[in-house]
């Protein structure tokens, strides 16, 4: 009995140890990937700020109008949902997908049609299994994302928006607050809102070549591209942070389990030794009598 138990316990310790090795390795990988993604997310900031300022400047031009800023009654919405490509990242995918689904339901109840652009394998799987109109899906693009990759998507969105396929575009992704907090968030990206026009009051209005409208329209894909790129990178950093945290607690749990199992193993071993000793001493007692 004792020997069989000891063998079992030994086997369990081994299995937990090998699991721990995996979770530990995943934790390390996630940590380094998170760091790289964070660097990329920071590097994109000046690009985006300059771009947005330039767009604000144009919009402050007195007789400027553009299809990309005009608010019409919203009827058709494109939701861009960014989730991860892989699981094992705690609540990361679930949180953002739940938020997206709730938002989609809310829009539907207001009588709008919702189409979905899913970025990340988990988002693609989630929405295609359910009753949603998924018009575009992109898997496995987040990690090695280049500008050209997001530019292709951005130009496509701009063209379809202009053609009237949808009249508003919302973006839902997870933002990196800190290494331990990541929050799902949403953002209305088209039509372009919140363009504050104070920046230009100091200078004379610049010359727009050929016209403010055309320059603005030319900037739209760049703007979308910058937004998408930074959202995808942000989401990727969050995914890695979530995975790192999940794997850290998994490794901690494994440690705890190993500790308990070792205790069990040592007890069993001690019990066996005690029993053997008792057997030997009682046998020798019997012999001497």
């Amino acid at each position: 009995m004792a020997t069989a138990n000891m063998k079992d316990v030994k086997r369990r310790i081994k299995s937990v140890e090998s699991t721990k090795q995996i979770t530990k390795a995943m934790q390390l990988v996630a940590t380094s990937k998170m760091r790289r993604a964070k660097e990329r997310a920071v590097a994109v900031q000046p690009f985006f700020e300059t771009l947005f300022n330039a767009m604000c400047d144009i919009s402050s031009d007195s007789n400027f109008t553009s299809v990309f800023t005009t608010k019409v009654e919203k009827k058709k919405t494109l939701m861009i949902v960014i989730a991860g490509d892989r699981g094992l990242a705690g609540g990361f995918n679930v949180n953002v997908l739940k938020k997206a689904a709730a938002k989609a339901e809310g829009l539907k109840q207001k009588g709008r049609t919702v189409s979905i652009m899913a970025i990340g394998k988990k988002a693609v799987e989630y929405f295609s299994k359910r009753d949603y109109n998924v018009t575009d899906s992109f898997s496995e693009i987040a990690e090695g994302l280049s500008m050209y990759g997001s530019m292709d998507i951005a130009e496509d969105i701009a063209a379809r928006f202009k053609a009237g396929e949808f009249d508003s575009v919302d973006l839902i992704y997870t933002t990196f607050v800190s290494a331990i907090t990541q929050e799902p968030c949403e953002m209305a990206i088209l039509p372009v809102e919140n363009l504050n026009s104070w920046t230009n009051t100091r200078h004379a209005a610049p010359i727009y070549d050929p016209s403010p409208e055309e320059v603005f329209e030319g900037m739209i894909p760049t703007y979308l591209c910058g937004l998408l790129y930074s959202a995808i990178v942000d989401s990727f950093a969050s995914e890695q942070a979530a995975r790192r945290a999940a794997m850290e607690s998994a490794s901690d749990n494994a440690d705890e389990m190993i500790e308990n199992l070792s205790l069990m193993y040592n007890r069993a071993r001690q019990a066996q030794i005690t029993q053997e000793l008792t057997e030997i001493s009682s046998a020798s007692l019997n012999d001497s009598v």
């Binding site: 530019m151 070549d209 760049t222």
Partner: protein, 134 residues
């Protein structure tokens, strides 16, 4: 010539930040040259070679789209990608040129075709700039 401040920003990094006396870029309306004291000016740029004066000589770089903004204090170029002539990976550009040409031949959809055409333009631009360096 009087120098002015130039900044070239890409999403990945600040590619150039410093003084220059002259830049020549191609906008959607044609080539423009910018010197010190240019009036405030904003225009979109197309994928093309861009010339920037650095240390007394004009250096060439391959630019992929974006826009140019001249304000009284400085000049800013915002672009998705830009590479100096000697940084260009010719083999990669060659590959992406072939890939784009194949996709254009297949002509699966107009969208796909337009995308391939843009890719081809960027690759040709890079090859053009890389070919000119000495």
């Amino acid at each position: 010539m009087t120098p002015f401040k130039l900044k070239i920003i890409t999403p990945e990094k600040t590619f150039f930040s410093g003084d220059t006396t002259q830049i020549i870029a191609k906008t959607t309306m044609g080539n423009v040259g910018i010197l010190h004291g240019h009036v405030p000016y904003v225009a979109n740029l197309v994928s093309s070679p861009i010339l920037i004066e650095v240390d007394g000589e004009l250096k060439e770089a391959a630019l992929s789209g974006g826009f140019l903004k001249v304000s009284p204090d400085d000049v800013v170029v915002v672009t998705y990608a830009i590479e100096w002539a000697d940084e260009i990976d010719v083999a990669r550009a060659e590959r992406s040129k072939q890939n784009a040409e194949e996709r254009m031949k297949r002509h699966e959809s107009q969208k796909e075709f337009d995308r391939a055409e843009k890719k081809l333009k960027r690759a040709l631009n890079r090859l053009l700039v890389a070919g000119r360096k000495h």
